[in-house]
């Protein structure tokens, strides 16, 4: 793969555009074209205890992409982190490629859930935390990413209320807020979580240090919501 870093070194954030371009043909994309790219990079590079070698370890951290549309950034980060061969990116969306326009957990190494229909990731993440807890795995984190428009689906609110009331500190929801919700969230998205008993942090979704700080600001007795604000600066959101 063409990387800006020297051969043999692990790909860096600066290598992501090249990986994205493998999926986008000749189009040129800056990382900012993808609303989720910075959050995903910070999670996999600086927050989550998950790597290609521990994907079957019950003690690993889990990342669930609920907002399954526009998974290019996700695939690019997984490829950069070695979960699968970057050469797979070329054929994405083709009949025999494991990489679809929505990810399938049974086809892609490192992908924890198949998603695409909105509002499924948060209840799945909640159940995963409950299952880990029942099996005595009280340390792994389960981080689920949703969009601000996806949050409109009622299934999220079933899970938000329940997780808050159960005080599940292993659960984190990242809301990537690119203001795509038609009817909006008066009072702020963070307050929707706080009102249900979640700890909430609202940050600049492009600021890696701020994201890392917010995403690691957990407590054992309350789930964490991180609202990551991003503005669209490209064609792909």
């Amino acid at each position: 793969m063409t990387m800006t870093t020297k051969p043999g070194a692990e790909p860096d954030y600066a290598d992501l555009p090249a990986l994205l371009n493998r999926m986008a043909g000749d189009e040129k994309h800056s990382p900012a074209a993808h609303s989720t790219l910075d959050v995903l990079w910070v999670l996999y590079d600086r927050v989550l205890a998950v790597n290609p070698h521990n994907t079957a370890d019950p003690e690993r951290d889990r990342f669930l992409l609920s907002k399954g549309h526009g998974p290019m950034a996700y695939y690019a980060v997984l490829a950069a982190k070695g979960f699968f061969d970057p050469d797979l990116l070329h054929g994405w969306g083709e009949f025999d490629s494991p990489l679809g326009f929505h990810p399938d957990r049974t086809l892609v190494p490192g992908v924890e859930i198949g998603s695409g229909s909105l509002g499924h990731g948060l209840p799945l993440a909640l159940g995963t935390v409950l299952g880990l807890r029942a099996r005595g795995h009280t340390h792994p984190r389960v981080v689920v990413l949703v969009g601000d428009a996806e949050l409109e689906e009622g299934s999220n609110h079933e899970a938000i209320a329940l997780a808050g009331r159960l005080g599940l500190g292993q659960l984190t929801t990242v809301v990537v807020d690119n203001s795509s919700s038609t009817h909006g969230w008066p009072g702020g998205i963070g307050e929707r979580f706080a009102g249900e008993g979640w700890r909430q942090r609202t940050v600049d979704g492009r600021d890696h240090d701020a994201l890392r700080k917010a995403l690691t600001d957990t407590r054992t007795d309350r789930p964490l919501a991180v609202v990551a604000h991003v503005t669209e600066r490209g064609v792909l959101a």
């Binding site: 049974t106 198949g114 209840p123 159940g127 935390v129 409950l130 299952g131 029942a134 099996r135």
Partner: protein, 307 residues
């Protein structure tokens, strides 16, 4: 089998047997978990005290109920999800399709309140399309017990796997337990036709066929369909098949057609009517009669089809 006309049930109904069996399974199997949405939560109070992490009442949140089950399965648990049929299968159907099937995650769904078990409650509490809906997804085992004593073996075999399993409990039932595993069991041998009686329909089917020269197969498990059992019965009798299902009429007609595709055959389906919504309350017996599923209705259909 005798005394077919009575409608009294054994002291412990299927729901009680399920909750008892499940509570015992929670003690024995650390992977087992129950997910509830208020319904039957009062029957798991003791089990919840012993296993607070594995008896999960999500409140009246049926989408989260299935999503949580999917997450439990992904974390290595064996979730059993239980509520009233329409709220288990219909309301969160996309969650069943995506949070279970598409994830490759199994669960055991145990419904209570089959078809017209709650006649006075009306349409909101009836889901006769449950088996037909699950039939749109691959790989589901569907048990339709006809007697409470058949429930423990079905539940325990389901708990021993990671596969998707549906157990359809009903207040209707047969006089005695007859299931011997998932295969169809011949309970009457004849020459002029084969009647497949699914789950609790065996009671009226036996009454309706008392004087007819037909084979009666008892089907306590309808998916996977016992193709070999049907073919054997047809070759010993005749390729005239009557399906009697306690849910949506014709749910298994396509399977019979596939199984007998190399034989000239006829198939007639009885079940809950699909041509109109029955807007009536009253008793289960009245609904059974209205759908042609009582002894009189079944007998009339059989005479018309077989003669």
């Amino acid at each position: 089998m005798t005394a077919l006309a009575t409608t009294t049930m054994p002291a412990a109904g299927m729901r009680e047997v399920f909750t008892d069996t499940m509570s015992t399974a929670l003690d024995a199997d650390p992977r087992a978990a129950v997910v509830l949405a208020e319904i039957s939560a009062d029957r798991f109070t003791e089990a919840a005290r012993r296993h607070p992490d594995r008896v999960i009442n999500v409140g009246i949140r049926e989408q989260a109920m299935i999503g949580v089950a999917g997450g439990l399965a992904l974390a290595g648990m064996r979730p059993v999800v239980h509520t009233i049929t329409p709220f288990l299968v219909e309301r969160p159907f996309e969650q069943i399709k995506l949070d279970l099937a598409h994830q490759g995650a199994g669960a055991v769904l145990v419904s209570t309140g089959a078809s017209y078990d709650y006649p006075a409650a009306g349409r909101t509490h009836m889901a006769p399309g449950d088996v037909a809906l699950l039939d749109t997804l691959p790989g589901w085992t569907v048990h339709v017990p006809g007697h409470p004593a058949e429930v423990p073996a079905m539940l325990n075999s389901a708990l021993a796997t990671d596969e998707p399993v549906y157990i359809r409990l009903s207040d209707r039932g047969n006089a005695e337990p007859l299931a011997e595993g998932p295969k169809f069991r011949p309970v009457r041998h004849g020459r002029h036709g084969v009647v497949v009686a699914v789950g609790p329909t065996l009671r009226p089917v036996l009454a309706a066929t008392a004087t007819l020269d037909v084979t009666v197969l008892y089907a306590p498990t309808i998916r996977p369909f016992d193709s070999a059992g049907l073919r054997a019965a047809v070759s010993a009798a005749s390729p005239d098949v009557v399906l009697v299902e306690p849910y949506l009429r014709g749910t298994s007609t396509h399977v019979v057609s596939d199984v007998l595709s190399d034989l000239p055959h006829r198939v007639h389906a009885l079940g809950v009517r699909r041509d109109a919504e029955l807007r009536a309350y009253g008793t289960a017996e009245q609904h059974e009669a209205a759908h042609g599923l009582g002894p009189t209705g079944i007998a009339a259909s059989l005479r018309q089809f077989l003669e």
